[in-house]
Subunit: 292 residues, 2 copies
Amino acid sequence: MNGMNELIELVDKYLDKYMGITYPEDIFKSMKYTLSLPGKRLRPVMCLETSRLLGGDIAKTLPSACAIEMLHVQSLIHDDLPCMDNDDFRRGQPSNHKVFGEATAVLAGDALITYAIQTIIEKSEGLSDSQLVRIIHEYTKFAGAYGLIAGQVADIESEGGKLVKSPEETLDFIHLNKTAVLFRLAVRVGAIIANAGENVIEEFDNFAKKFGLAFQIYDDIMDEISSFSELGKTVGKDKLSGKLTYVSLYGLNEAKNKFNSLTRECYDIIEKYDSTVFRDILTKLSGKIGSC
Amino acid sequence: MNGMNELIELVDKYLDKYMGITYPEDIFKSMKYTLSLPGKRLRPVMCLETSRLLGGDIAKTLPSACAIEMLHVQSLIHDDLPCMDNDDFRRGQPSNHKVFGEATAVLAGDALITYAIQTIIEKSEGLSDSQLVRIIHEYTKFAGAYGLIAGQVADIESEGGKLVKSPEETLDFIHLNKTAVLFRLAVRVGAIIANAGENVIEEFDNFAKKFGLAFQIYDDIMDEISSFSELGKTVGKDKLSGKLTYVSLYGLNEAKNKFNSLTRECYDIIEKYDSTVFRDILTKLSGKIGSC
């Protein structure tokens, strides 16, 4: 059985293998740069672990798992741009546009979106065409204008104070779409590759929704209380920009309570699968909040 | 039989139909804005016409044809950004970031990439899963880091004078990848939907390669000799930025000769299909060069 660290190593190895460098080198180097920064690889790990728990094959799941990390990294590269969050650091290193320039960073992000799907098609052995179409469909729904990007735009609008819905509804929408959506994609795709039934897919989806909300509340809390060296990126920006966060809307204590109740629900859903990996992920997240 | 104008109307109608507006509205409005600017719709028209000439069904081809226009428009939105070509106008109107801001323009481009593929999957009726996988694979190969984006990056490098290959080789690479690639994608996908044999796909591909080169040389010539009102975008920028173009490398006369010989080859390849639409496209392009 693969533990958390083995799965991370596997993801790192295959991301490196999938991402070759050819002419014109700048674009491939730029894509590979942010993709190679050490990360927790939570999304691909959750995809692989879901597939394994449901009897799926790790080798068959790796291309789709790595593709989710590519989409995630794409969103980070564009998020860091001066016209977006204007962040000079990512995972403790200079962000993509600081190294390769803004134009290449924009194009590297664009390229990662199509390359993620190209990787699924070219590297997945043993998946049927109907599975491939379903997986790619999930990607486009969850990572596009109706998912991840809807969350980012609502987030930008909230910073400008342009709220169409109530602050509570807007925040839920942002958290679900900006953060939970890629965790949902990860477990859904893992379950689809394992040929799980619709009810099992929905069970994992429900887990990922709650986990995603908890994760974003965690992020909001950390931005409030952490230092640069702990996070590897600029902190305290939410407060400075008057951003709508769980902490700014409900206060730190209520944020911690909500976080704790969500992670408890996550434990409950996943308990019957007896997964060390999911338990580790939840424990690490809760541990940090518990000690702060 | 559909003529050029009927096909353009069909594309406009379906682009409008496919592109609904929902919360958060800014992202959908931004995507729809540049998508709705009146254009020649050359790529989707060539996709539809290729399919029709080879016995394909127009209704089955429309989602894929519109998806190519979405990819094209995505590249225009990102190309116009201040960090790229910094162009305030597109198709005679303010460019996307001038209307919606840079952050939304970046995200609208991102969203169009996935939405193009989502449209193919959700709107294509009567295509088999294996056709869908092949079509999507063509999209990712031609529009991504190994196609369109490789051309854009080589183009950016050439402006900075950072040439890895000779100027002639670099220019060919830029033209083939930045411009010809989406015409190739258009005719290939049209032919695949019509279930054409590989030799026919390659014949149309060869046409599109030559057409794409001719089209880019046309564009280089127009940037040199036209006015803003004729092009609907800023002109003379190539010269100012010292950009590598067919005109800057070979001179205006040699550029016209090359253009004429390529369009003649295009006529020769397509002649046997007796297509009013392809003839119109070639005649319109040649007419402008002939008269300048």
